[in-house]
Symmetry: C2
């Protein structure tokens, strides 16, 4: 098995950019990643591209070759679609291509354009990540299904809206100074509690925004990095994927996300690390409750124990396990198909020391990324480490 390095990372500004097609967003992020890596376009042997809603919102499928073309790369390209985990899956399969020896250099990334439609149409497109027959037709939208999960959590383990508000406060604070973040403004617990309700118990500031954007990373084999003297100090040491039934009604437990646990177990085993080894994490906080569920599924906390983590300062920038130093989906933004590789880009910068919050984790050696699709019917977990 070939070892894999992250050789470069790129991201567009996240935010409302309704006039830009997904391809244009990806071209910018991909070019940024290649420039960061110092790897020529001609060396790219595969493009792994994540996009969720292109067919519904841009009338554009078959986006793999389109992404490669926009990037100016003449190589095979595949589109991966796993709802909000689309580029997490693209990254995983890019890693596998390098490990298998099928490619020495892969660009993995993703893009999403959402804000050009009105919110009703965007919400409908996003709802196609849920079970159309058993959830969508019943009127379920994503705030709705995550509200059900939050409600189940409160009922089973306890917790309050104020506990969740601390997650939003933390992630908004972390986004301050992130040049790519959609929001660069702090919010208070009172702001979150007073925000308009979206789906009880979740309010507007419990939810990530609608975002346009793209991200990309350059993956390279250790052999390529050595031969071409590429500065790529971050290695991908663990990769795991888990799956669950799409419809919440089909699940045994609404307040747990076993797909994330399965993905994490596989990634930890692959890397030969445990949750205790992780110094910094980016987790999929599409709603505040989602960060809590993730911290438990990933083994950082027992079930029912993560609800107070942000409030207690354990996951803040000065805590024992800083989580979402990028600002997370909550404040950096959530351009759906771009989120998975955005997390990798942020963690790589943190491990390299060129991140706006790098001073929070100066000695970090092990980082974890958790990217989830839908109500975590898909989950992808990766472990990154500073290479010896």
């Amino acid at each position: 098995m070939h070892s894999v390095r992250v050789a470069g990372v790129g991201s567009t500004q996240f935010g409302k950019q309704p006039e830009r097609a997904s391809r244009d967003l990806f071209a910018e992020a991909g070019a940024g990643a290649l420039a960061d890596a110092g790897v020529p376009h001609a060396d790219v042997e595969f493009v792994a591209y994540g996009n969720f809603a292109g067919e519904a919102v841009e009338g554009q499928g078959h986006a793999g070759p389109l992404a490669a073309d926009a990037l100016g790369v003449d190589a095979p390209a595949t589109r991966y679609e796993a709802a909000c985990a689309s580029s997490g899956v693209a990254f995983r399969e890019g890693v596998r291509a390098v490990r298998a020896g099928d490619a020495d250099v892969v660009v993995a990334g993703g893009a999403e354009r959402l804000s050009h439609l009105d919110t009703a149409h965007t919400t409908e497109a996003l709802a196609s990540a849920a079970d159309e027959l058993w959830e969508g037709r019943a009127g379920a939208t994503f705030p709705g299904v995550y509200a059900l999960m939050a409600d189940a959590y409160f009922g089973e383990y306890g917790g309050t809206r104020e506990d969740l508000a601390h997650v939003a406060v933390k992630n908004h604070a972390n986004a301050m100074g992130n040049p790519h973040a959609q929001f660069q403004r702090e919010v208070t617990v009172a702001d979150v509690l007073d925000a308009p309700p979206v789906a009880d118990p979740l309010g507007l500031l419990d939810a990530c925004p609608i975002t346009d954007g793209a991200s990309a990373v350059v993956l390279a084999s250790e052999a390529y990095v050595a031969e071409h003297d590429v500065d790529a100090p971050v290695a991908v040491t663990g990769s795991g994927q888990g799956g669950d039934r799409l419809a919440l009604a089909d699940r045994a437990h609404l307040a747990r996300t076993p797909a994330a646990s399965a993905a994490a177990d596989a990634a930890y085993a692959d890397a030969g690390v445990t949750p205790a080894d992780v110094d910094v994490a980016e987790v999929h906080d599409c709603f505040t409750i989602a960060e809590v569920l993730a911290l438990e599924a990933l083994g950082f906390y027992g079930h029912g124990d993560a609800i107070g983590a942000a409030r207690a300062g354990e996951t803040t920038r000065d805590g024992r396990l800083p989580v979402n130093l990028s600002g997370g989906l909550k404040a950096k933004g959530h351009p759906v198909g771009a989120t998975g590789t955005s997390q990798i880009a942020e963690l790589t910068a943190l491990l390299r020391g060129d991140h706006h919050n790098a001073d929070a984790v100066p000695d970090a050696e092990v980082a974890l990324a958790h990217n989830a699709g839908g109500t975590v019917a898909s989950a992808v977990v990766h472990v990154l480490e500073v290479a010896e």
Copy 2:
């Protein structure tokens, strides 16, 4: 690298089944493949699922976990989308997962539901495989872009509508007796020439139909097959993928498909075979001209030389290289996301000797599958061989 076997194959009836959701179609094909393999559901470690238009026509994205659930499999699952090459790509990545040692048993397959919409909506959804900004908005549909390719071919190399008609005649003849085929009726050259025009020079009988259906194959490592005494005499020995620019206007040549050539070169090299070694092939004949372009790109003929192949009987069931003994997309049908693994299923049956046309190639040892997306902006080629 772990060697990979095709342990079982399954297919639904191809045809109009507007009342069935994609998930139901896939469940049938997948269950059939597992039964054919004699592999228990619990041993499946990954589901690689191809689907093209689900978001546009069923309001359903995130179809990987949904497909696994429909199949009754508790394993990670990913949806691959490469237009008409979606399940060819899914198969390729399933092969890679086994080769990389990430899974011993993978179900790769695909499904598409199209006939529940009116033809205008279906045509619009299919057009999202082309470049929406530069082709779709100009009114280009798939018959239109393939007509441009046929016209370019005739202009550069010569050929007539009658030459193309022989492709349709051959493939309809081959479908006779295929229990899964949408059409089981022979057509004559006169029928094809007299059919209503669709996009000059292509008529209705130059085009594949709109089809609902699903297909699936079970992939297993050689180690698993040996340990569990699975009867799996067909090995996957070669895999290749190629890409091209989506828009025809961006290409150097309208009468060639270099993505297919790149995929074939990679697959031949991977398998250690040449075009001359291939005994039987399934190629992507979404239009009659597409089969001609494929035969040339795959190295079976020089550029401009394949136009007369069917007419001369070289690719008929009694010819030196029988092509599309299944009936092809033209007559078996083209449920877009299901086509790639349908080709693998047909070739596996031909190599095993349990195909309705197996008597045409009793000594076949090497088979080739060519699956293309859009106007061959994506191409996937696989080589299957009878294992020693």
